[in-house]
């Protein structure tokens, strides 16, 4: 098998991997584990699917999943995974099993002869590195939404059985409070940073986002430490990489792990009480003021 093997337990991400895989080699094979729906969805995108049915393999067991993919990888040179949390965790384990080099969080690549030149953020997002896997085999984890999902085609499903044992047991799966917002798709983002005094202030900020025709997003600590907003709304290295037409940043200091997620915005406005905030250097319009006053003022004027 000279081609590319792809795996993600999420159909939408696996479809993106098919597109990425085809950019490397025409022959793309997909893996589905204990998931007929996923297998069908992938076959409908025109690829050959190796469908594993073995109750002993839980997708939550990274070691077991890595064993399965290694078995199926046979002679393929490149395995593509999704760089969501599940995929990133799997990437290192699989690479070690295959004796492969591995790059995660890859947002784009160029195929240059037999080299796949991958772009990924480095130094917390301060830089973009171009890196190549030079070992015989490679595992590349592709950042979600970096490639368009594959369109329809007619593929096939091959059932495979494998022997794998497991040392982890899933006791319970709890849904996180659903927040269906898609900040990556928003044309306007109003981003709440830690300069926001209290959760109550979000009401005015939401009103402003609505008036501007956009969504409220936030920096990571606002979601993970303060828990004022869902993690779906985090902009940055461990959140979403956004490209809105307009981003209004309220009390955001501008550390690299954040700015990497907003630097592709067309226009950036920074509102901060500190005129020397690093964010101001990366903004188009800088207003040195208390964000709470500014939000009130904007809400009354717009």
């Amino acid at each position: 098998m000279a081609g590319v093997l792809i795996y993600s337990d999420k159909l939408n991400l696996a479809l993106e991997l098919i597109t990425a895989g085809k950019a490397i080699n025409d022959e793309v094979t997909a893996v589905a584990i204990n998931d007929e729906e996923l297998a069908k969805g992938l076959a409908n995108a025109g690829v050959k699917v190796l469908s594993v049915a073995n109750e002993a393999v839980n997708v939550a067991d990274t070691a077991a999943v890595a064993s399965v993919i290694k078995e199926l990888a046979g002679g393929v040179k490149t395995v593509l995974l999704a760089s969501n949390r599940r995929g990133k965790e799997l990437a290192g384990r699989l690479a070690q099993k295959l004796g492969a080099g591995c790059l995660t969080d890859v947002s784009s690549f160029t195929v240059n002869g037999d080299k796949i030149e991958c772009q990924r953020n480095a130094l917390g997002g301060a830089t973009v590195a171009t890196q190549v896997i030079v070992s015989d085999k490679g595992v590349i984890a592709i950042a979600p939404k970096s490639f368009a999902p594959a369109g329809e085609g007619s593929g096939s499903i091959e059932l495979v059985s494998l022997d794998v044992s497991s040392k982890v047991k899933v006791l319970e799966v709890k849904a996180k409070s659903a927040d269906a917002v898609d900040i990556e798709a928003a044309e306007v983002l109003v981003v709440a940073g830690q300069g926001v005094n209290s959760q109550d202030d979000l009401t005015d900020i939401e009103a402003l986002a609505k008036k501007l025709g956009g969504e409220v997003a936030c920096t990571k600590p606002v979601a993970t430490d303060k828990k004022w907003l869902s993690e779906e709304r985090v902009v940055g290295l461990s959140g979403k990489l956004c490209k809105p037409e307009l981003a209004v940043l309220l009390g955001v200091s501008g550390q690299v792990q954040f700015t990497v997620g907003i630097r592709d915005a067309k226009t950036i406005v920074s509102v901060n009480t500190d005129e020397n905030a690093s964010m101001n250097q990366l903004s188009d319009y800088v207003l040195t003021a208390d964000l709470h006053e500014v939000v009130k003022d904007l809400n009354s004027k717009l």
Binding site: D61, T62, A63, N84, R85, K88, L90, A91, G92, R93, A95, Q96, K97, G101, C102, L103, T104, D105, A122, L123, G124, A126, T127, V128, T130, Q131, V132, V134, S135, G138, K167, V168, K169, V170, L171, V173, K174, A175, K176, G213, K220, T224, E231, S238, L246, Q255, V256, T267, I268, V269, N280, Q281, D284, Y285, V286, L287, V294, L298, K301, L302
Partner: protein, 250 residues
């Protein structure tokens, strides 16, 4: 019972300057990655009320011996370091091999903790690679850990769901960023840190083959940025500018 926390020395990212799109590392102080500190804090919390011993494990250049004092002050009981200036630019696969070799020299290890990613590269491979090299089960992106005898009950926090998982020990656990507030050591703790036991080995002592590099870096540049940086004096002026750009009032 030993709890091992693997920690990486990194440059203080806030102090890296960009010149001609190149990162400049001169005089940038060294520190430990933030998420690694979350992992250590998780270990310190697990230790409370038990006779567990926390070993901080790190591989890197000679400076690590100094950088790691921060971890000893913040609650690690001892350090196990593999230091060699050749390790300065070592990649994930090589560091994982060395850490695993270090772990194999320890007894009674029940938990090996990592952060979900290092502060600088954030590639998140080393923990998973070490788990494979040690043939141990692993759980990543963990937000809570509870040890009950020879199993741990942990919560893995994915984008859409939380999985409550029971895993056999020993196991490799990578913690999520920000799951706790790492303690800031007191002056006494900092002074005591210097006296805590440290085992320092060189590459020769662990007799492993680093293996060839699997990754080549062609370039590492800051993206070009040409922001206008216009200082506006009032909300009115801001509204005027944004309206002129057709960004509001459409």
């Amino acid at each position: 019972m030993n709890i091992v926390v693997a920690m990486k020395q990194i440059p203080d990212l806030q102090q890296i300057r960009i010149r001609n799109r190149q990162p400049v590392f001169d005089d940038v102080p060294l520190t430990i990655g933030d998420i690694d500190k979350n992992a250590l804090e998780a270990a310190v919390n697990l230790k409370e009320g038990t006779d567990a011993n926390i070993i901080v494990l790190s591989a890197g250049n000679e400076d690590v011996e100094d950088t790691i004092k921060e971890a000893l002050a913040a609650g690690a009981d001892e350090a196990f370091l593999i230091l060699d200036d050749d390790l300065e630019d070592a990649e994930s696969s090589q560091i994982a091999t060395i850490l695993a070799a270090g772990l194999k020299k320890m007894d009674d290890v029940s938990l090996i903790l990592f952060g979900e990613g290092s502060g600088d590269n954030y590639s998140g491979q080393v923990g998973s690679r070490v788990a494979e090299l040690m043939d141990l089960p692993q759980v990543g992106y963990v937000s809570t850990i509870e040890v009950n005898g020879n199993v741990a009950k942990v919560t893995r926090s994915l984008e859409d769901v939380e999985e409550v998982i029971e895993v056999e020990l020993p196991a490799v656990i990578s913690v999520m960023a920000g799951i706790n507030e790492p303690r800031i050591p007191s002056v006494t703790q900092i002074l005591k840190a210097g006296k805590k036991p440290k085992e320092v080995l060189e590459l020769d002592d662990i007799e492993i083959d680093l293996g060839a590099a699997t990754i080549e870096t062609n370039s590492n540049l800051a993206p070009e940025s040409d922001r206008k940086k216009i200082v506006v004096k009032s909300v009115d002026e801001l509204v005027e500018k944004l309206t002129a750009e057709n960004l509001i009032g459409r």
